[in-house]
Symmetry: C2
Subunit: 350 residues, 2 copies
């Protein structure tokens, strides 16, 4: 088997942090991987210099990961198709709204036996009333195998080589050992599970739970209530996966992508923060997002809307009282203080 060529599609904060890992592992296993890792960089001028040139000469992403050196075998390429030509493994790590456009540009331009791995948390918002996973979007357009990598992985901490864990979810286990080699390091510990949908849905749905946690923080509830809310959110996550993507393994929720990422997101995390502020200030969600997130949107309210459209259409929204309440509160259709009333008769307590 020829060594696999790897391309990282994306060069933001998370993409650059992961490039440090992938650059080192590909060098460590030259029989498995081609040591040159191409990284697609959307060209920008930073302080009068081209970002790609800075990366290729000084090996630092001065805009999105300043102060951290990238391995010299990570090469910035500004042309998307060129960056992926002949690549066997495509690592997707771009904002979710760019996935469709990128994939469409790559049709017919990559080996037919390439595989992708998505590090993108969130869901596609292109299909109203039916949540679409990022991995499904990539697979539908490029007709290739798609795995996912999720976990409690704040990019700055990963870039600092702090000890952490992540979960790779594959749809066929044959990809697992190779992908583990590509990402597993001394400080970035990978478990592989053959349960890609669950892994990816954990990464998306946790943001709804974090909104609920933020509401309880904003309302001034204590630790008991917050713990109950997080737990009920996790139970709805398991039920959602079971309902729409049957065949998941309960054990997967114990992986880093599950409880670990959920905890981190519900105690730190921007969704929690904006929802706490939403309650405390009484301002509409879009105003809060503008004020706190530099005009970006929080994933939680968007995901809650997609989930609500889906559960309502299929007549099961009453089985997901927390998800439903988060959506209605974000839209101003329900008062935050009513959240707990919605949980009092939770199906979990029957």
């Amino acid at each position: 088997m020829a060594p696999k060529k790897v391309t990282i599609i994306g060069s933001g904060n998370w993409g650059s942090a992961i490039a440090r890992i992938v650059g080192s592992t590909t060098k460590a296993y030259p029989d498995l991987f081609d040591p040159e890792v191409r990284m697609w960089v959307f060209e920008e001028i930073v302080n009068g210099e081209k970002l790609s040139e800075v990366i290729n000469t000084r090996h630092e992403n001065i805009k999105y990961l300043p102060g951290k050196i990238l391995p010299t075998n990570v090469v910035a390429v500004t042309d998307l198709v060129e960056s992926c030509a002949g690549s066997n493994i495509l690592v997707f790590v771009v904002p979710h709204q760019f996935v469709k456009g990128i994939c469409e540009k790559l049709i017919g331009k990559i080996p037919s036996d390439s595989q992708a791995i998505s590090l993108i948390k969130g869901v596609s918002t292109q299909k109203k009333g039916g949540l679409k996973l990022i991995s499904e979007e990539i697979r539908d357009i490029l007709k290739i195998e798609v795995s996912v990598l999720m976990g409690a992985n704040l990019a700055p901490e990963v870039a600092n080589d702090n000890f952490c864990e992540a979960t790779i979810g594959t749809s066929g286990f044959f990809n697992g050992p190779l992908l583990k080699k590509l990402f597993h390091t001394e400080n970035f510990r990978i478990n592989v599970v053959e349960d890609a949908h669950t892994v990816e849905l954990c990464g998306a749905l946790k943001n709804i739970v974090a909104c609920a946690a933020g509401f309880t923080d904003g309302l001034g509830y204590g630790d008991n209530t917050k713990a109950a809310v997080i737990r009920l959110g996790l139970m709805e996550t398991t039920k959602f996966v079971e309902h729409y993507y049957p065949g998941s393994n309960l054990q997967t929720f114990f992986e880093s992508c599950g409880i670990a990422d959920l905890i981190t997101t519900c105690y730190g995390g921007r969704n929690r923060k904006v929802c706490e502020a939403f309650v405390k200030t009484g301002k509409p969600m879009d105003v809060i997002e503008k004020e706190l997130l530099n005009g970006q949107s929080a994933q939680g309210p968007l995901t809650a809307e997609e989930v609500y459209l889906m559960t309502q259409k299929t007549g099961v929204d009453s089985k997901f009282p927390l998800f439903t309440a988060v959506h209605k509160i974000c839209k101003g259709e329900m008062k935050p203080a009513e959240l707990i009333d919605c949980l009092r008769n939770h199906p979990e307590h029957l």
Copy 2:
């Protein structure tokens, strides 16, 4: 069936908070429960008054739950045997070191078909090298059926009627419905599982995990590392239960007694706090405990020692690197900074 007589053995902070609940449910179901709930009170003089008399006249535990009114059907009784005479349900909610003495006094003094429910978190420390559950201790001495109630339940928040959840673990499901009626209220939501050992072990072992979380806080690690530590602690908890009490149900760890209580304990909680201070100050554990806990002991280091003696004796300590490291760090046999090295080759990552 005659209505069941209920006795609450204990009248501290948690006992008094639970008396508010049990007082109201026994009144609500007169066909199931005798409305007089006796509460055993260890007599003390508070501000020149007998505590039991204050409870029976002003219906307030002015020492351990000041400011909260107890239902008038909760009657303080200072004689232990008298408080339990003819009782069908004994609710144990005393510090764990008093359980043995109390049970020995009750031998032959309670109906032979009584049942007990323990709300006591922790393990018995009387049997060196083999952890003994509180429920086992009660069962061994009194030869009665023992259930447990555990969950993310800080007593002051329960006393404030904040929404929260708890888990009842029974060893035979026949007790479940009755016990649920005794504790389930609008704001204290009970799930019953037929998996008492798991429920009780979650309540004990979480304190070891909280110590590890405290060490990572003290060492200044970020959210990723803390989440990984908590997750690995949970995995060791599941393995420990599986190894020593086979037949547990993975689903039980998703109940309030499992992840919810674990999260609360690892983010708030005294074990986390003393272990953070242990790292930051460099003082021995007993000194820290004296300074921060008014001379009381934290449960985590004690439980870690019992668990270590048990895993070492049975030759499986290497399967529990986090539990083992917490014990050795508490004893000063290992530096806190070595914790992460112990986790890097965790069996979970193989």
